[in-house]
């Protein structure tokens, strides 16, 4: 069972290589314990995250999606996260409108040095998704 207490849910994370993926590494190096629901996909930049990846994940089985990039002004590609910010904010509002609780989707900024912040983000987001429960009526895993 996950640290949150109930059955694990499926949370997908899109992390930019330079900041947030590094932040998650830093959290690991610091042995900052986190719930285990999250599955991480590495992307070069949060600007690479097409909002449709989030939609696809939520429609095909994810209970929550987390996107994390470099802090504004600190993008490795200088502008990618600014585009991400606009697109993901748009998406958040659209999801809520179409009946998917906006709390199932979170985007944030975590730098490579912020291991503790990463731990906090994962812990809090996992908790938030667990409070909502599963998004889909999933079949039990075959095996």
């Amino acid at each position: 069972m996950s640290d949150v207490g109930t059955k694990e849910l499926r949370i997908v994370g899109f992390l930019c290589n330079w900041c947030s993926y590094g932040g998650a590494d830093t959290a690991g190096v610091g042995r900052f314990k986190q719930p285990t629901d999250l599955r991480i996909i590495r992307v070069p930049c949060s600007g690479r995250v097409d909002p449709l990846f989030v939609v696809r994940a939520l429609l095909t089985g994810a209970d929550g999606v987390l996107v994390s990039g470099c802090h504004p002004r600190d993008c490795h590609y200088s502008e990618g996260n600014y585009y991400a910010r606009r697109r993901l904010e748009m998406l958040r509002r659209l999801l809520q409108f179409m009946g998917i609780d906006e709390k199932r989707f979170h985007y944030t900024w975590v730098s490579a040095s912020e291991g503790q912040k990463w731990q906090q983000v994962v812990t809090d987001f996992t908790k938030q998704v667990h409070e909502l429960g599963p998004l889909h009526d999933k079949k039990e895993k075959a095996d």
């Binding site: 996950s2 998650a24 959290a27 042995r31 696809r56 089985g61 990618g80």
Partner: protein, 653 residues
Amino acid sequence: MRVGVFICHCGSNIAGTVDVARVAAEARKIPGVAFATNYMYTCSEPGQDEIKAAIKRENLDRIVVAACSPRMHENTFRKTIQKAGLNKYFLEMANIREHIAWIGNDKELNTEKAIDAVSMAIAKVMQNKPLHATSFKINKRVLVIGGGVAGMQAALDCADGGLDVVLVEKSPAVGGIMARLDKTFPTIDCSICILGPKMVDVGQHEKIKLFAYSEIEEIKGYIGNYQIKIRKKATYVDWEKCTGCGLCMEKCPSKNSYDYFNFGVAPTKAINIPFPQAIPKKAKIDPNYCRQFLKGKCGVCAKICPTGAINYEMKDEIVTEEVGAIVVATGYGLLDQNILTEYGGTRYPDVISGIQYERLLNASGPTSGHIERPSDHTEPKTIVFVSCAGSRDKSIGVPYCSGFCCMYIAKQAILTKDHIPDSQSYVFYMDIRSPGKGYDEFTRRAQEEYGAQYIRGRVSKIYPKGKKMIVRGADTLLGTQVEIEADLVVLATAAIAAEGAAEMAEKLHISYDTFGFYVESHPKLRPVETNTSGVFLAGACQGPKDIPSSVGQGSAAAAKVLSLFSRDMLESDPAIAQVNTNACVGCLKCLKTCPFQAIVEDTLRSGKKVAKVIETVCAGCGVCTSTCPCGAIQLQHFTDNQLLSEVSAICQM
């Protein structure tokens, strides 16, 4: 497809909380996987040999290594499989150490998570395509931004190594902060005496092209091929003609110009040469103070100049230089004293900053080395030094230690005693930070030999009382309040990021931290590299530093440039955007969002308008790919299908 999967134990780092054998067994069940095993230390030489052997033995064509972070060993394993004859982009890593083994205690859950991570990596690697780097020529010239001690060291080392150097300094002379210091700790040798020869070398080196009083306007390009636009600010003096004789400065009637070099300790002339040892030793006019500019008439300097160098009509000039690498040595700034309202800000003339005090101590300073109170030019007898004036203070946004203040306060206390033997120095400190060769001994000497009184505690308030300044603070060791009647108060104002540091970082596409200091590639192992290849850091722009560290970094950055330039060609990262011209509809939305202007409009033979990627300029961020509505421009190695395959590996209802 024949994928080989290698699950690393990393000793007990992974195997302690992940059932690695089970992960390998589960991997074997996945279609496409031809071989899966677990290994003690995959990154070790035998571990890598095992991968190479398996590739041959099992005829593998794609490799997944589940181990530590790819930020750690992706390159290692890419080389490994390359040696075994595979394209290095046929590797995927699953991060089961930092992202799994180290952050969860539940072995069962960790193992499930690791299986998912491996499944995702397998799904992705099966979508991977072989990518091939292209090589391009390097322009073996280097740009050094900032002519302080770090920048000069980098410039000289590069030039001595045979490289052409372009050195850009925004003030009228090189030397930076060090040129303004009186003596240096812990040896008490004269700062300008040891720096002067370096400045002269910089000025005279045939390989160094110095742009003083110039700023970086624009940086375009990429490692090996940068185009730099430099703004040569108008000095109103033709430096080709100026001999630095100083006649103009002598005769100039505008006597109340702000003296930037001396941090405003005393005024200077509107036309001036900043200091006697200045390199280049050329005059410049400050139009904010010059009568010719303010009132439209004067012209004294133009009349007096023996070479006719004065030109009131001069305009800024933009010049372009092409280089292959950049060393950033833009230094640091000092906290604006005005923020320190409890110390009166700058309201009290006899409360000054440490750097201003340096100028008072300096023999070629405005007082010719006589310490005097700015208010009445009398010699102070009681001098209070306040360390951490702003540093280590979260409330004003400087939670860090400025690093060198403890040392220079000790030095200034010693020099004060030398200058005024009957003086008494008091030092308010929080902790004495003196790690360094001979440093701690030095602070002890200040107390023991020179009688400086060290009081552990913060100063809460400074206010005037008659001609004196009352310094009120706590002595936390005695647990009492103390009040000292001082003649002069010296604040060790915090070191902060240089003015315009953020804008410069944005021009360079490098990261900076919350405080504006530039972020190095790795805090321990890549201290002078940035995450932008081709851009290196030296000195205090990366964080407060003393002279030896700055010099060391200057040399280190130079060494990095020299080693980069030891090759004639560089390989470009092939993980960049690529346009499928069949699918591209030529809407050019990608062109609008590319942060690097790496996309241009192109017309096919058929007349069809499409987007085109300039390979060498593309940095591989993928903003274009998520902008393109028809999926026609795909960031290689992170294509839609590659990321979708990862999503579908874990999201299946």
